[in-house]
């Protein structure tokens, strides 16, 4: 294990033992699977965002546990129905994105920790760092927008990887905006970032060199409206990272994607060329079971 972060990993293990013992085995599993890269990434997050604060970390782990229980229960139901529970965007807005207590105690902590605790999310992060950030580095890209910022995780990652870039983050949720503001403040990245509260599918003032939108498409009734809006916000020849969750029946997921192909066709029909794509599954699927996946696309406007 990377010695520099042994203390932080011990903190994480302790937090799981106290607040989400059901999932504590995942800490060792992730360590065994990803090794030092994972230790460093999570260790840095615990040091900087969580400020090595055990109570903050334990509260996040507790929320993560609650989120995972619900997600796993919904997944087993989805195995049988192959449908998401019917929910409109307006209902998701009211019960999730504008439900500040739920966002702060469950949803946002769970999303943040999922980037480290879920194998497919950590693989996605590694893939993005290796394949997307490397395309931006040293090629004159200066501005990016992040549409549907969530926790602010990918804005933070991009700002850290590319010190010459400035970002603009858009989201409808006050809780997400607050979380992202805090995230970037703690990582000392706020001076290169502007937060805007607005509907994600609304028109964004354009000309961006780059756009990221991570696992937002499935939250919408018509994802193509968002894709066309993102395209209009980007300059010709701009690069983008677009991802979607497949077979992931979370309470606020509306549009069911089951294959990369469906997402790719929508992306291409909205004015993008797909340069590279990947699919990461959360775990090995058993017979008669579905598994949540991350469909990831690096795109160029055309």
């Amino acid at each position: 294990m990377a010695d520099a972060h042994a203390v932080q990993i011990a903190q994480v293990k302790e937090a799981f033992a106290l607040k989400a013992r059901l999932f504590q085995g995942a800490v060792d599993d992730q360590l065994a699977t990803f090794g030092d890269a994972w230790v460093t990434a999570l260790g840095e997050e615990v040091s900087v965002y969580f400020n090595n604060d055990n109570v903050l970390l334990e509260n996040a782990v507790e929320g993560y546990g609650r989120f995972c229980i619900e997600a796993m229960r919904l997944q087993r139901r989805f195995d049988k129905t192959l449908r998401y529970d019917a929910i409109s965007y307006a209902e998701a807005l009211e019960t999730v994105y504008q439900n500040d207590a739920y966002m702060r105690t469950v949803y946002l902590p769970a999303l943040l920790l999922s980037h480290y605790m879920w194998p497919h999310h950590f693989r996605q992060l590694q893939w993005v760092r290796e394949n997307f950030f490397s395309r931006l580095s040293g090629n004159g890209f200066r501005t990016f927008c992040d549409v549907g910022i969530g926790t602010g995780f990918y804005s933070k990652e991009l700002l850290r990887a590319l010190p010459d870039m400035r970002g603009w983050g858009f989201d409808i949720s006050d809780s997400s905006i607050d979380h992202t503001g805090l995230m970037l403040q703690r990582w000392s990245l706020s001076d290169r970032y502007t937060l805007r509260k607005q509907e994600v599918s609304a028109e964004v003032e354009g000309g961006f060199d780059c756009c990221v939108s991570v696992e937002l498409l499935e939250h919408l009734e018509d994802p193509t409206v968002l894709l066309r809006s993102i395209r209009r916000a980007m300059r010709d020849g701009a690069l983008g990272l677009l991802t979607a969750a497949l077979d992931a029946p979370n309470r606020d997921h509306i549009y069911l994607y089951r294959k990369n192909d469906t997402v790719r066709h929508q992306i291409e029909a909205s004015g993008f060329e797909v340069l590279q794509e990947a699919n990461f599954a959360a775990y090995e699927v058993g017979e008669g079971e579905t598994v949540p996946q991350a469909a990831c696309f690096i795109v160029r406007t055309c």
Binding site: G65, I69, M72
Partner: protein, 80 residues
């Protein structure tokens, strides 16, 4: 239902879901003592038990039911 019959029914369900021989499920077994009992199997097991006993466990219970004794207590409380 006697305690023995309840344990027998629970052990049978657990063994099928976890994928082990029923004889490996002891009255004091727990997540720590059965390697193949992970979080994914746990959730499947909970849902199988809910179906078997026609009950619904709260999420707060689900995260605590990490041993056979605790599972038996939770079921007894629900069916009482």
């Amino acid at each position: 239902m006697t305690d023995e019959a309840l344990f027998e029914k629970v052990a049978r369900t657990m063994a099928v879901v976890i994928g082990i021989d029923q004889s490996e499920i002891k009255p004091d077994s727990s997540m720590d003592s059965i390697d193949k009992w992970d979080s994914l199997k746990h959730m499947k097991m909970i849902m199988a038990l809910e179906q078997e006993f026609d009950v619904m466990f709260d999420d707060e219970d689900v995260v605590e039911m990490l041993s056979v004794p605790l599972i038996l207590i939770a079921i007894k409380e629900k069916v009482a």
